[in-house]
């Protein structure tokens, strides 16, 4: 059940973990906007380094690298399509006169494809910092304080709470059916799909039973007693949050300025000088 491992939550504390999720989300969104603004490899390389200090402060290096590795296949695909597309319609690039034949022209194409790939990597890198350092509990609270209806936030946290439980249950059911001679990998494609019926039915039946019991338990604990619920926890902005807001705004301003007034050289032009 390694698929589910990534969804298991664990309470960890660090400066980054303790940041208000709303602010963290704002920061990541600024990175997102910046990555969209720029197309040059040089600029995007700078952007790639921005989330790194957060990764180290939160001590999530390993998980973070794992999510990057997970995106590797897609990154290669983006690189290849960009390169191939550029090769067949080079006119859309400045500094290339079709057909692509000189070394410099190849380099321009390569740089462009690399930049597009890096843009994708920057997005993954920054968003994964957000998800790796924000507990579902926190996220639910942030949703709630962002005036999203409580029912929705409750559904979200409850779903997360039951992921490990359902994963264990799925494993037990699979074992129970294997113990009765079920071989999941046997037969042609249709047969293999059918093999999963004895696993899916108990899983679904149990999930329904479980949700009924949950509803019963919620009712018994005064669900819907008052119009406006209170909450044990409250998100309050702390100093670190204000600092991060400041950093984000400054970054955004700087980016807009550079985008408007500074022309970023491409590596090829730098080198071919």
């Amino acid at each position: 059940m390694s698929v589910f491992e990534g969804f298991k939550f664990r309470k960890v504390s660090s400066v980054v973990h303790d940041l208000d999720p709303r602010i963290k989300f704002f920061f990541v969104s600024v990175l997102f906007v910046m990555a969209i603004l720029f197309t040059k490899l040089l600029a995007l390389t700078v952007l790639f380094f921005i989330p790194l200090p957060f990764v180290f402060m939160a001590k999530v290096n390993r998980q973070w690298l794992r999510s990057l590795r997970g995106a590797a296949f897609l990154a290669i695909f983006i690189f290849a399509t960009n390169f191939i597309f550029g090769y067949f319609s080079p006119a859309s690039f400045q500094g290339i006169t079709p057909p692509v034949d000189t070394l410099v022209e190849y380099l321009v194409l390569l740089e462009r494809a690399a930049a597009m790939t890096l843009r994708f990597v920057v997005l993954i890198a920054s968003f994964s910092v957000f998800f790796l350092t924000t507990s579902p509990d926190h996220l639910g609270l942030a949703l709630q304080q962002s005036r999203i209806p409580y029912e929705f936030c409750f559904a979200f946290t409850t779903a997360v709470r039951f992921v490990p439980v359902l994963a264990d249950e799925a494993q037990t059911i699979m074992d129970a059916q294997k113990a009765r001679g079920l071989e999941l990998e046997r037969g042609n494609l249709l047969k293999r799909v059918k093999n999963y019926i004895p696993i899916l039915i108990p899983l679904i039946v149990n999930a329904i039973r479980r949700s009924l019991e949950l509803a019963e338990s919620m009712e018994s604990r005064a669900w819907g007693a008052s119009e406006k619920r209170t909450n044990l926890y409250e998100l309050k902005l702390k100093r670190a949050d204000y600092i991060l807001v400041l950093i984000s705004v400054l970054m955004l301003l700087l980016a807009v300025y550079v985008w408007l007034y500074v022309s970023i050289p491409s590596l090829t032009t730098l080198l071919s000088l």
């Binding site: 509990d137 709470r161 005064a222 669900w223 007693a225 209170t230 044990l232 409250e234």
Partner: protein
């Protein structure tokens, strides 16, 4: 003073014709520790659901007769109103915890009552302490053992400060040590806080010593009521299939062979003491 009173309570779930409980009349007094037992399918759970209004409000169906709990007519009050007086703890600990941390779960009911945060904090800490799980307050529920989860469930009901706590086979998935701890916690709530306890249980060997009253149900009806001693020595209870504790069984076996102990024991200590007496006297 009675806190629960039913008169000829009959209930039929929607979509079926046979009533699950029939003409049930029980009176439970304030501060009682009641064990409700009987073979599975005898209507124990259905009766528990009536005590806090899940029946008829959540299950609908057809309810006849009278039921009054903590002075409230169950039919005329909503579940969340009754929840201030009656807490229900269910069999499967896993399916009654829905938050990502223990304390958040304990706070759930209070949040629903819109209790101010400071007061809520105090109440949550108090409930955790009473259930002996203060050190677990920030842990996610799936990391806890079944026994710990069940104590969280008890704390989350306790936080609402009910007068009555109904526990529907809370230990049936637990090992004996986990079960024993649950009984100790419940007993403390009963003796120290005066909360009326209704415990549905098959494991009478562990629970018997805490109770002052036993109700046996069979086929939807009340079959027997009485003190643990009366019930455990009644032939009728044996026929219905009530699991008599071995400590009491030994007493009965000896009685059959003409040896009478002075009193009916329900715990091993009592049996040992009574045996010691006759072994010495002889």
């Amino acid at each position: 003073m009675s806190v629960i009173e039913t008169r000829d309570l009959t209930y039929t779930y929607p979509g079926v014709t046979k009533p699950s409980i029939e003409e049930v009349s029980v009176t439970i007094n304030k501060g009682d520790f009641v064990i409700l037992t009987g073979p599975s399918g005898c209507g124990k759970t259905t009766l528990c659901r009536c005590f806090n209004g899940l029946i008829p409000h959540f299950y609908n169906g057809d309810l006849e007769g009278k039921i009054e709990v903590a002075g409230l007519n169950v039919v005329d009050h909503q579940i969340h109103q009754i929840a201030r007086h009656v807490g229900l703890v269910f069999q499967n600990p896993e399916n009654q915890l829905f938050a990502l941390s223990v304390e958040k779960d304990v706070a759930f009911g209070l949040e629903n009552f819109a209790m101010p945060r400071d007061e809520m904090r105090k109440r949550v800490d108090w409930a955790l302490q009473m259930a002996g799980i203060s050190e677990l307050s920030e842990r996610p529920p799936h990391e806890l053992s079944g026994g710990q989860q069940q104590r969280v469930a008890i704390a989350s009901v306790l936080a609402m400060q009910p007068d009555i706590m109904v526990l529907d086979e809370p230990t049936s998935f637990l090992d004996p040590v986990g079960a024993e701890k649950i009984f100790e916690v419940i007993n403390e709530l009963n003796k120290k806080l005066g909360i009326t306890i209704i415990l549905v249980e098959h494991r009478l060997d562990l629970a018997a010593k805490y109770a002052n009253h036993v109700i046996v149900m069979n086929k939807g009806k009340i079959a027997l009521t009485g003190s643990p001693r009366e019930i455990f020595t009644s032939e009728e209870a044996r026929l219905i299939g009530v699991g008599i504790p071995k400590a009491t069984k030994l007493y009965q076996h000896l009685k059959k062979h003409g040896i009478r102990l002075k009193a009916v024991p329900v715990t091993t200590e009592e049996t040992a003491d009574l045996l010691r007496e006759i072994l010495k006297n002889d």
